[in-house]
């Protein structure tokens, strides 16, 4: 039976010759991920589960402290410690505390913990990020994660797949983020619920690994269970630099069945902006800038756009200039490694000289946790992935989502600005 890329990976992990959409399977997992928030609840569930004394494999679990760290307060310290103590007790091989890790989804690929053909579940909805590497990866809640910790397997309903075919060369100042915002806007926030998104086409073949990460990361913003790319020479080179573990590169069959096929032409795409208060409220920048939208905060970072490529784009735009005096810019490099590389390349210095706050890696500002929380009536343009009411702090704040370039240019002008307008960049 012909299968999609997702179906192939699921079938192999369930030890079946074939699977089809709607089928319930028990699948073996290659890696189980949790952060201190999802782990705290999962560990509690595990403690209450009779016979669940040990994790199934100490080398196939990754625990990353990233949401409320360095601890925002005593309660945050308590749950961070809870996860650390568990990691020590269970002798977990891949435990990342502050200063050695960063944002989970930035850290795992960097550390070679994600490879093509693998099946990864995580206690974080953006676990779908690893689809960038041709892996099946999906987010789950803590009880499911606790079950995966001890059994090393999960039950899954095989999702039907939606094939997205991108063509055309991105224009000036159009990036993977713009392509994905356009995609979420096209599908809608429940347009891919219970579905797999399979990314195809010449546009994504040309994308860098980071660009594919940005796109796979936001599959959940259309409600998808996972978003997946085919691994190619770029993927294999990236992964082999980081691990010598064997992996199997799967490929969708040419006659695989897709629930829908959608063609998206990128050639004429403008930079895109998701306006408040849903990630699918997406508009081209020329439409958004018809009104003057002043901003109080610009945020650069997250598992969507906290990579070295992203910081380089921002530094290039801000180099030698000063950010607008009415706003603040907060930058969170995605991981300790990204932070160190950005420091070595002089990127962090340029950002700081322009007036940006450069924070330690973490998720804090993106989800309204700490280190960049918005107040009543404040407006932020951000490289992150969600802009629901209250997402970054006050329910009376507004969040616009855009690419690092659009955010950087807006930091110079103080209002949401088209990055293609030369005058804005040189202002």
């Amino acid at each position: 039976m012909p299968m999609t890329l997702t179906e192939k990976i699921l079938a192999r992990h369930a030890a079946l010759d074939a699977v089809e959409p709607g089928q319930i399977i028990n699948a073996k997992v290659d890696l189980v991920l949790a952060n201190e928030l999802s782990a705290a609840v999962a560990i509690g569930v595990m403690r209450q589960t009779k016979g669940a004394d040990r994790v199934f494999d100490r080398e196939k679990i990754a625990l990353v402290e990233d949401h409320f760290v360095p601890a925002k307060d005593a309660q945050s310290a308590k749950i961070a410690k809870l996860m650390k103590d568990f990691a020590i007790e269970q002798n977990i091989k891949h435990f990342f505390d502050v200063g050695r890790g960063g944002i989970e989804h930035v850290v795992l690929p960097e550390e070679g913990l994600v490879a093509p053909g693998e099946l990864i579940v995580g206690g974080d909805s953006h676990t779908c990020t690893y689809g960038a590497f041709g892996a099946f990866a999906t987010g789950m809640g803590s009880t499911d994660i606790a079950a995966a910790f001890v059994l090393g397997e999960v039950w899954l309903k095989v999702p039907a797949s939606i094939k997205l075919i991108y063509s055309g060369k991105p224009g000036e100042m159009v990036f993977a983020k713009d392509i994905m915002l356009k995609t979420v806007g096209t599908l809608g926030i429940d347009g891919a619920t219970y579905r797999a998104i399979e990314y195809h086409g010449t546009t994504v073949d040309e994308l860098s690994i980071t660009g594919r990460i940005t796109m796979a990361n936001m599959a959940i913003e259309a409600g998808a269970k996972n978003g997946i790319f085919h691994a190619d020479a770029k993927t294999i080179a990236y992964v082999k630099e980081r691990t010598d573990r064997d992996f199997i590169v799967e490929k969708a069959d040419p006659d695989a069945r897709y629930e829908r096929e959608i063609e998206i032409d990128i050639g004429s795409l403008e930079p895109q902006v998701a306006c408040p208060h849903t990630p699918d409220n997406v508009h081209p920048i020329s439409e958004v800038t018809r009104d003057e939208i002043l901003v109080d905060q610009v945020f650069i970072g997250s598992c969507t756009n906290g990579y070295i490529e992203d910081l380089r784009i921002v530094a290039k735009i801000l180099d030698g200039k000063r950010i607008d005096s009415r706003l603040r810019v907060i930058v969170n490099p995605g991981s300790q490694k990204v932070w160190m590389q950005a420091a070595e390349e002089g990127v962090l210095g340029k950002l700081a000289a322009a007036g940006c706050v450069v924070n330690t890696p973490g998720c804090g500002a993106c989800f309204g946790g700490h280190m960049g929380t918005l107040g009543d009536g404040e407006r932020c343009i951000s490289t992150t992935n969600r802009n629901y009411v209250g997402r970054m702090g006050s329910p009376k704040a507004e969040v616009y989502l855009a690419s690092p370039a659009t955010c950087a240019v807006s930091a110079l002008t103080g209002r949401i600005t088209d990055p293609r307008v030369e005058a804005a960049v040189t202002a």
Binding site: S125, F367, G390
Partner: protein
């Protein structure tokens, strides 16, 4: 057999996301009662103080979209809310709600008919929703067979215990 649920309806729109069900700043809390005090705070800051134990959240489609935070259904349960009725649920929230024992029901018919304040009575086993205020009855979609068998087995935790016992 699960007990009958009874309470007044609090009605909301579509795409009620996890950020409004339990804002990120409370996600470092693990105490159920404490989480319950902040249920729905991002959308309806008065919900926890206004609702009475047993009350029912009634919402349009895609309830619980967004993050995987299990504290979202935990907060709703912790507030004393007895059930959520929606036209549809987001994928991760659906699993989480069943895993933590928050009764959820898919019933477009009920959502369209029920108004805030209506008194509802729900028979979980048959998915029967009675509107005592309007004197109407609606039905909820049955759970898929696999989900029903998991529920009947006592939930995921009981399933894991059984699997571990088999392996031992």
């Amino acid at each position: 057999m699960q007990a009958t649920l009874r309470g007044h309806a609090h009605k909301y729109g579509k795409n009620v996301d996890t950020d409004v069900i339990i804002p990120g700043k409370y996600c470092n809390i693990i105490d159920i009662a404490e989480l319950g005090k902040h249920a729905m705070e991002g959308l309806d800051p008065e919900y926890a103080s206004r609702m009475k134990p047993g009350d029912v959240i009634v919402a349009d489609s895609n309830f619980g979209c967004g993050s995987s935070r299990e504290v979202a259904p935990i907060a709703i349960k912790g507030s004393g809310t007895s059930a959520v009725i929606a036209k549809s649920f987001a994928r991760i929230f659906y699993r989480n709600a069943l895993n933590i024992g928050l009764p959820i029901f898919e019933s477009p018919e009920a959502v369209d008919a029920v108004e805030s304040g209506d008194e509802l009575e729900i028979e979980p086993a048959g998915g029967v929703i009675r509107n005592l205020t309007k004197n109407e009855t609606y039905t909820a979609a049955a759970f898929p067979p696999f989900m029903q068998s998991l529920i009947d087995a006592g939930g995921l935790q009981a399933y894991v215990e059984k699997r571990l016992a088999e392996k031992a």
